[in-house]
Symmetry: C2
Subunit: 482 residues, 2 copies
């Protein structure tokens, strides 16, 4: 009770911060660990193990023993590389597997690079087949081979199955910890069976009712198991209105189903309705977060990046995107180059042309955001897509006239040239229509091609609105003004 | 069994699509419902109710009766306004409350606008206090007053409590369906107690153990209740290492805790450790999705927008953002205006200046994406912020020299002017450093001000990289070239 209250007074995030401070303090006060010995080489050459045995770092080690693996993972992500690897050395090996699962992929790489084959095999062996499959892409081949040979026949088959499904499918997210029962037994028999298991798998809110061919015929909610009369047969207490998933189904649509039907767990079945696994909301929530994160980074052309990776590694992570954008900027620049003659004659064009490009880019990005969301929520279908395109074009018309007029008046007042104002209005209007069309069609086409519409749409849009904006504005100006 | 198989053969999304097709077909074949009668007035004047009584629309009505409220909500979101309101009329009133909870806010407004006070009160009365609180912002005052007076004393207190917490706090997400037990009873007594409840609240994975002052002293997992020996006392089976939340805590950090500790539900307690409610992963997942959605729209200055709202309403939703961006574009345009004299002399500047602005904008957006993510995952703290800024500036240096050289060589070859190439290189380098600084500091400052760093950072960045890009490039050119 006092223990519990103490925990409440300090939130866990504060606790993590406090441990981080502790670690820094210990590292700093500990004299022999200065910049010279605490480099990567010292860590890998076992100098540090020596150190740990003989020093007050043992104190830190025993503290770490009491912390939840997920909290340790959060701490490791907040530590620069050298400190991170020192703490990693101090962590009890029994937690290695769980922590590797919890840290981000970029941080995981740094930890795995610091472990030898034996340590990695030991860490992987603490995990379930589906968890090993999650780590597998980051593990060296010889580690995987060793782990494989140490598994039971059943676990090996499960690992093989889990590895066979592509990322972002239900099969890659599912686990194998399902509890199955038969329909012809009574609930008190089920109760006795569960009691013999000694513990239920995490997030077991329902049992799966199968026949002798392992074909799913319904689910029995744990809460029904508890409240229904013990002599009731499973068949009479189970639900046959079950949301099931095929392992090949994409994870995004499974996530929507979990949200829509407020599921906690659901059976995964093969083409013959045989149960092959289970997917829980814990898997789903991890997927949603990872997906959102990859998307927000992917939009600016980044892969996952360790906050503390080297400058060089980080710089390279950003190159592809910068190269692509430099390419589109060069192209837009050449469009302007076509009209250098007009700009020489009327230099106001140079000052005004970025406005035409920028507003259309912004407006098109609004369209993209709405369409991408509608695609994600499956709100767009064949029968309404045409109506939506018409609507976006009409909005572009309204906004083009309105904001084109504002910009046109600005140009007129500034340069005292009313014709220039009309060219501005016309160019804004046309370019906003381009933006609406591109902003609507690009995500739909990307999706049709099986790509994530959130990633890439914006580059293609800016490419169009910049190039077309310059072309339209300078073209109109050349025809009507110069 | 056959029923179950049939359900499996067709995924639920296909089912929704099929119902949508059915609705369209019925609406089209039904002669009297043409464009003239099926307008909004007809719907509100009860003409349609008449229609429904006498027609084959009844068939559709009975079909809708069998569909999950969440599926109906998804259908309503995919239907244009007139069809949406027609289907809404056909839905059994008993489902109104659940459906209103499920639809997006923008669609909810259209449905509520179509209901009279009596219908709204009836719909709200089907819901729990925490659900009514979710709807409350969209309900007219007289409806809320009516609902309030119809509630029991306890429910009224709960509704008052739920309404008192700001959006995005644990208090706004929690429900009141917690099952509490005492620590000194045995598990079979708990079992008998639960059996008397006849059903457990959804997502009950644990019971809350409280003393007679309602102070939380632990939690009892349902799975432990099942597997432990019946004569065990609650005190010996419960866990006292409990993750709890204060109702004022922000929902984002609660979501992180749910992910980190793989929680399904958690107690919400007040300052005296008294239990006041419960938060479940279902609430969390809804929050995460809504938050992600608002963020992706908020980034381009949009509020939630019904895909089928009028052109005029949609256009207005986009204005603030376009106005802000027009303002920043005008400003950048005036920066260019300062250098019109130089551009007249060397028109190549006009073609090259957008490149300098664009690449820095892209590079800065990469920095923003990483920093916003690090803020969300609480990876940034005082002790590492300075090191990260230094790192971002170094990356900008590396990328500035690299891509500045590429752009410089491009300018040199294109215009045969090597000095122009060096100005290009210098301007790119300096502007990338501006971008790194702004991209790092703006999200941190916004967060310090208590605002969402994901929203607004990008506008401020583009404002800086455009204006500074033009200023630096044209400034250097004026000094060294003209």
């Amino acid at each position: 009770m006092s223990d519990f209250d103490a925990k409440n007074k300090r939130s866990r995030d504060d606790t993590i911060q406090q441990y981080l401070d502790d670690i820094k303090r210990i590292l700093e006060t500990h004299q022999r660990i200065d910049d010279e010995t605490l480099d990567h080489e010292a860590l890998t050459q076992g100098v540090l193990e020596e150190e740990i045995r003989n020093s007050e770092l043992r104190e830190l080690q025993s503290q770490l023993d009491a912390i939840h693996p997920a909290d340790i993972a959060a701490m490791l992500e907040q530590l620069p590389l050298v400190e991170r690897l020192l703490v990693w050395k101090l962590i009890p090996p029994a937690k290695d597997g769980d922590i590797l699962l919890e840290v981000s992929e970029a941080v995981r790489e740094t930890l795995i690079a610091d472990m030898d084959t034996q340590e990695l095999v030991a860490a992987a062996e603490q995990l379930d087949a589906d968890e090993i499959a999650d780590l597998a892409p980051d593990l060296p081949d010889d580690v995987i081979a060793d782990v494989f040979s140490s598994l039971s026949e059943e676990e090996r088959a499960r690992l093989r199955a889990a590895l066979s499904y592509p990322d972002d499918t239900v099969g890659a997210l599912m686990d194998f910890e399902m509890v199955t029962v038969r329909e012809d037994v009574s609930l008190d028999v089920v109760m006795r069976y569960l009691r013999r298991l000694e513990s239920l798998p995490p997030n077991t809110d329902k049992l799966f009712v199968v026949d002798r061919r392992e074909i799913l015929i319904g689910t029995l909610l744990i809460s029904d198991l508890i409240v229904a009369a013990p002599e009731t047969k499973v068949r009479d207490a189970m639900s046959t209105d079950v949301v099931t998933f095929n392992p090949d189904r994409d994870a995004e649509s499974a996530a929507h189903a979990f949200e829509r039907y407020d599921l906690s767990s659901a059976p995964v079945i093969d083409a013959y309705s045989r149960i092959v696994g289970r997917i829980t909301i814990i898997d789903i929530i991890d997927y949603i977060r990872e997906d959102a994160e990859q998307e927000s980074l992917g939009k600016v052309g980044l892969r996952d990046e360790d906050l503390f990776s080297s400058v060089w590694k980080s710089a390279k992570n950003r190159w592809l995107w910068l190269a692509v954008n430099l390419g589109t900027a060069f192209f837009a620049s050449r469009v302007i180059g076509l009209f250098e003659h007009s700009i020489e004659k009327l230099v106001a064009l140079a000052a005004l042309m970025p406005i035409v490009a920028a507003i259309a880019g912004n407006s098109g990005n609004q369209t993209i955001a709405l369409i991408v969301r509608a695609i994600a929520f499956e709100e767009i279908n064949k029968s309404n897509a045409k109506g939506l395109l018409r609507k976006e074009l009409l909005i572009a018309l309204v906004n083009g006239i309105l904001w084109g007029s504002v910009a046109g008046v600005f140009a007129w007042l500034l340069y005292g040239n009313i014709a220039l104002g009309f060219v501005m209005l016309g160019a804004m209007l046309l370019n906003l229509i381009v933006a609406a069309g591109v902003g609507m069609l690009v995500p739909l086409v990307l999706q049709k091609m099986g790509r994530d519409p959130a990633i890439g749409s914006s580059v293609l849009l800016t490419f169009s609105t910049d190039s077309m904006g310059f072309l339209i504005f300078l073209g109109l100006a050349t025809v009507f003004l110069v």
